[in-house]
């Protein structure tokens, strides 16, 4: 367990650089997982773009102009769309939407699912059985279909999009955390805590929950990419967040509808942005899983 906790901190390299022993562990991680390092670079680029969007953008992402469907040029780096908006600035600002919706929905779904998994695994018995059946039901639909129906039922808005994307994550998170709780629950130190008179809620929250952090982090990294993709698909279908937010998915839907041939840049750049963002989370997620998941270590 000590090793698991130890390596978790590698997820934050800045933190790892503060102390000498940590640094060697971080360097070891980067050397062993070059793809993971590439993932960190991509994620850092995405984060920087989102934070500095106002500085990096050259135009107002939502203001229309008479420069309609201009090909990429010195003035408009990636060209303009059908309403004369600068595509580069829109793609830069789109990173905020993807990151905010991706992170918020992933965290919401993972925390909710994690708590359900904790209760399910720790309490066990009939409660466990009931919760597991409910999770089965929630998993009987493909993620996108469930998110689609939820988004349609809730109506288009930023919070509703986040909720619609987070719900399909709940059963997946619950399954995962339940499995680790089942294993941790049987360890000697939990028994020791109980013998000392620590109450159940405290054992569950303070003694068991912190040790599920490894799989939890792996889950969040893996789901972040999936959430960004679902947001793109929902926005593409017109069920994501409404105008005027510049969302990568919706930029593609406008392009696909009419302008794909006349203005291929409208297809290429937003899609590339989505792919790179998701690629980064997937690279990092894979490397973290190899490091944190003892079952996969060495394979």
């Amino acid at each position: 367990m000590a090793r698991v906790v130890d390596t978790v901190e590698l997820a934050a390299p800045s933190l790892a650089l503060r102390e000498a022993p940590r640094r060697s562990a971080a360097v070891r991680f980067l050397r062993r997982q070059p793809l993971g390092a590439a993932g960190i670079v991509l994620m850092a680029a995405l984060l920087t773009t989102a934070i500095l969007a106002d500085v990096l953008a050259t135009h107002d992402p939502v203001r229309t102009s008479s420069h309609v469907l201009v090909p990429p040029s010195a003035e408009f780096w990636l060209g303009t769309d059908n309403l004369g908006r600068d595509l580069y600035s829109r793609v830069v600002h789109g990173s905020r939407i993807s990151l905010v919706i991706g992170l918020a929905s992933t965290l919401l779904g993972a925390v909710l699912g994690g708590l359900i998994g904790l209760v399910s695994g720790y309490v066990g018995g009939t409660t466990d059985l009931l919760i597991q059946r409910v999770m089965d039901i929630m998993q009987a639909l493909p993620i996108l279909v469930l998110a689609l129906v939820l988004a349609a039922a809730l109506g288009p808005s930023l919070p509703n999009a986040i909720i619609a994307i987070s719900i399909p994550i709940v059963p997946r998170a619950a399954r995962l955390i339940r499995a680790s709780v089942l294993a941790i629950r049987e360890l000697a130190y939990v028994e020791a805590a109980r013998a000392l008179g620590v109450r159940h809620p405290r054992v569950a929250l303070r003694h068991i929950l912190p040790n599920t952090i490894g799989p939890f982090i792996v889950l969040i990294t893996a789901q972040l990419g999936a959430s960004i993709l679902v947001e793109a698909a929902l926005s593409f279908l017109g069920l994501g967040i409404p105008e005027p937010y510049p969302s990568w998915g919706r930029m593609l839907s406008i392009a696909a509808a009419e302008y794909a041939e006349k203005a291929p840049w409208l297809v290429i750049w937003p899609g590339l942005a989505i792919s790179l963002a998701v690629f980064g989370t997937n690279l990092l997620g894979d490397a973290l899983r190899d490091t944190l998941d003892p079952r996969l270590r060495g394979s």
């Binding site: 493909p142 993620i143 593409f236 279908l237 069920l239 593609l252 794909a260």
Partner: protein
């Protein structure tokens, strides 16, 4: 074995009943009932007409009665009526089924043809350059929205070859070649994504199997390396791959939703999006239930297949 089958069947049934309740409640989350939506577009509302329609559709009855009525109709194979087209839903779905099945089938075929060999090669050459290349390619497949990949491939075709697939749907019975041309790109786009998942599970299953004693035995007795990998190891690594392909089936349907829309293929998934956008909720409700049934049946089939193929599975406890 019989006990195991019964148990699995009961679980599948419970899941479907639960799913029907979830879908039914979700559809009632949306503001306004179906009658409001139908009348909304008309502009002028005659209250008597409205009440008449409410009675006809049964939305003036208590919620449990409405639910019972819906499930009753479903059990009789009645998928309801589309208000947008003023047709029976089944009459709309039926001609669309072959389109979705062809796309799903081709995508599944591509994903297996690409994913399994890639996974085997990757495992056999673990940590060599080819392993890294294949792993990066598979991660890239997981990272691209399949609808975008399809758009880019079409763009490339149009730009470099001046070639364009038919904009309208061509039936395979009218012109098989044109039909296949039309389906290859979307099926590849969806299949590439699924092949990435199949490749990953094949690779890890292969790596696990390759450490087994009997593989060493096969090598020790002088069996050729390729034969050991492709025959001895792959056979035993195939179980998790089969499971994943079953689960993948559900995933694939999700991928079809957007792909059919982008490629203008008149399939069932496209119709679901249409129905959602035009708030044709009775149809949405039935289509989503239909998808849930397909997914649950696919998972059930895989569970049973798995138990049948692998005698090590303990039927009693699973």
């Amino acid at each position: 074995m019989r006990g195991y089958v019964t148990k699995r069947l009961v679980i599948a049934l419970v899941t479907l009943v639960g799913m029907s309740m979830v879908i039914f409640s979700l559809m009632r989350l949306a503001p306004g009932n179906i009658v409001d939506i139908i009348f909304e577009s008309a502009g002028y509302v005659d209250q008597a007409d409205k009440r008449l329609l409410e009675r006809e559709l049964g939305v003036d009855r208590p919620i449990p009665v409405q639910y019972a009525r819906w499930v009753g109709e479903l059990l009789h194979g009645d998928l309801g009526k589309s208000y947008r087209y003023d047709m029976r839903a089944w009459a709309i779905i039926k001609p669309r089924l072959p389109v979705t099945l062809e796309l799903a089938g081709l995508a599944l075929l591509f994903s297996i043809l690409l994913g399994v060999p890639a996974g085997v090669i990757s495992a056999a050459r673990q940590n060599r350059p080819i392993d890294y290349v294949l792993r990066v390619l598979s991660l890239a497949g997981l990272s691209m929205p399949s609808f975008w990949l399809g758009m880019v491939i079409i763009l490339l075709f149009v730009r470099s070859l001046g070639w364009m697939p038919s904009v309208t749907y061509v039936s395979p019975f009218d012109d098989l070649r044109a039909n296949l041309w039309q389906f290859v790109v979307p099926a590849l786009a969806v299949g590439y994504r699924s092949s990435a998942l199949i490749m990953r599970i094949t690779r890890s299953a292969m790596l696990e199997v390759m450490r087994e004693d009997y593989i060493r035995t096969a090598r020790a007795k002088g069996q050729r390396g390729t034969l050991v990998v492709w025959r001895h190891a792959l056979k035993n690594a195939s179980l998790p791959v089969i499971t994943l392909i079953g689960i993948e089936f559900a995933f694939l349907i999700g991928g079809l939703v957007v792909t059919e829309t982008v490629f203008n293929l008149p399939g069932v998934a496209r119709y679901l999006v249409d129905a959602i956008q035009f708030r044709d909720y009775p149809v949405v409700q039935n289509l989503v239930m239909f998808i849930a049934i397909v997914v649950v049946l696919a998972n059930l089939a895989v569970d049973l297949l798995y138990a049948w193929v692998d005698p090590r599975i303990k039927y009693g406890r699973a």
